[in-house]
């Protein structure tokens, strides 16, 4: 594969990834999408999930939480609230977070506290995304 695309993942804590890669797969608003070199200009919001990219045959996985991504001039930029590489994920913590979020969701359903619920749902999704990656490692 000759042509590559420049991938950048930027979070409030600084740039996480800045590399030339072969393919990027990301959890977009309308489902997962893949981007190869010389993709048309594109802008999408990003959901909580797994960002995959392949570079010289090796695949890397990142857990990303909400944000958006922009593709232009053979460059793909992700602006997300947080991003974690696979080996950085603490599976035990994610499992605890999942259980906590599930418990809170249950409580929210019973008491119908709305604000808590959206937050718990987001927390649950983040925990699930982390667990998915952690299990593959």
């Amino acid at each position: 594969m000759a042509e590559k695309i420049n991938l950048e993942v930027v979070t409030p804590k600084g740039p996480i990834v800045s590399e030339e890669v072969d393919i990027v797969t990301a959890p977009g608003f309308a489902g997962e999408f893949g981007v190869l070199a010389n993709h048309a200009p594109f802008l999408s919001t990003i959901k909580i999930g797994t960002l995959r990219y392949k570079k010289d045959g090796t695949e890397e996985e990142l857990m990303v939480s909400g944000g958006f991504c922009e593709v232009s001039n053979n460059k793909i930029t992700f602006l997300v609230e947080s991003a974690e590489r696979g080996h950085e994920i603490d599976a035990d913590r994610a499992l605890q977070a999942k259980e906590r979020a599930e418990k809170r969701l249950l409580q929210a359903r019973e008491q119908q506290a709305k604000i808590d619920r959206t937050r718990a749902e987001a927390a649950l999704q983040r925990a699930l995304a982390r667990l998915r990656i952690a299990q593959r490692q």
């Binding site: 979070t11 409030p12 740039p15 048309a40 802008l43 919001t45 922009e70």
Partner: protein
């Protein structure tokens, strides 16, 4: 003249103060390093964010988004970001002054002003004006993005409810370790920066037509605008945080130096008093000896 003992205990006291101030100086210096790092890490994010915002809003009417709606200004809200702690020189009072100026300017035009105070000091200063709508204290020590988000959400909700037609934010901008200035920005309605550099304009113009959007541009904007508020608020907090530590560092450095000067003066005084005492004693002895001789 002060007695020897008084001067000596005063020297001791000033020395202890100098110890404290120089320790605070060092603590502020190391905290500043952390705060500055945090600020620098955040910079690429803001830059990319603003780029995307301006290229997106270049081909969109601002009227269709509630957060961008420019209304006839009747009520103004000012978000004042100050530090939680004192002992940082005139850092906070500069921010107060800038805020008070803005308040009186709006009030002379007959507009209603409400305040949101981030940081304890701002709340303490403006509490008695009765204008404080909400205050967020004790968060400047260690804050994360989600702290900024809850503040931004509250401010946005207030704007959308029509309680404020325009929202300003005032914070201590970090120019350098030696210079921090109060800085004012318009938070709402959102006006994305139109970058002046030609490159960005042509890029935005070229990009306008042929971008693919998922979901539609309007829906993306709906997601992006609240995020933009978070970014702005977080940025203001980061800047104030770094400025606070820098200001404290300078203030404590000055204090330590003043202490050292004082110790020098007091030591001189002490030595003089001691010398005078010895001379007086000598005179007594000589006088006594002379008397015996006679």
């Amino acid at each position: 003249m002060a007695s020897l003992k008084d001067v000596k205990s005063k020297i001791g006291g000033v020395k202890k103060t100098a110890q404290i101030t120089s320790a605070m100086n060092m603590v502020a210096a190391s905290k500043l390093r952390g705060a500055q790092q945090k600020m620098e890490d955040f910079r690429p994010y803001t830059e990319k964010f603003n780029q995307a915002m301006s290229s997106l809003s270049a081909n969109m009417e601002s009227g269709q988004f509630p957060l961008m709606e420019v209304r006839d200004v009747q009520t103004v809200e000012i978000v004042i970001v100050t530090s939680d702690r004192g002992l940082c020189g005139s850092f906070n009072s500069h921010i107060f002054k800038a805020a008070a100026k803005l308040i009186s300017q709006y009030e002379s035009e007959g507009k209603k002003v409400s305040l949101v105070c981030v940081g304890k000091k701002g709340n303490a200063f403006f509490k008695k004006t009765g204008k404080v709508r909400k205050s967020h204290t004790d968060i400047m020590g260690s804050f994360q993005m989600f702290n900024a988000r809850s503040i931004a959400q509250d401010v946005a909700a207030n704007f959308l409810a029509g309680e404020a037609d325009k929202v300003h934010v005032i914070y201590g901008k970090f120019m350098s370790v030696a210079v921090q200035r109060p800085h004012m920005e318009v938070l709402l309605p959102v006006q994305p920066e139109v970058s002046e550099s030609e490159d960005a304009v042509t890029k935005a113009g070229a990009a306008a037509g042929d971008y693919l959007y998922e979901p539609s541009p309007t829906e993306i904007m709906d997601v992006l605008l609240p995020l933009y508020m978070n970014v702005m608020t977080y940025h203001a907090m980061l800047e104030t945080g770094a400025s606070e530590h820098a200001a404290r560092m300078t203030a404590m450095d000055n204090a330590t130096r003043a202490c050292k000067d004082m110790i020098k003066d007091l030591t001189l005084l002490y030595n003089k008093a001691r010398q005078a005492g010895i001379t007086a004693e000598l005179m007594d002895i000589v006088g006594g000896a002379e008397a015996l001789k006679g």
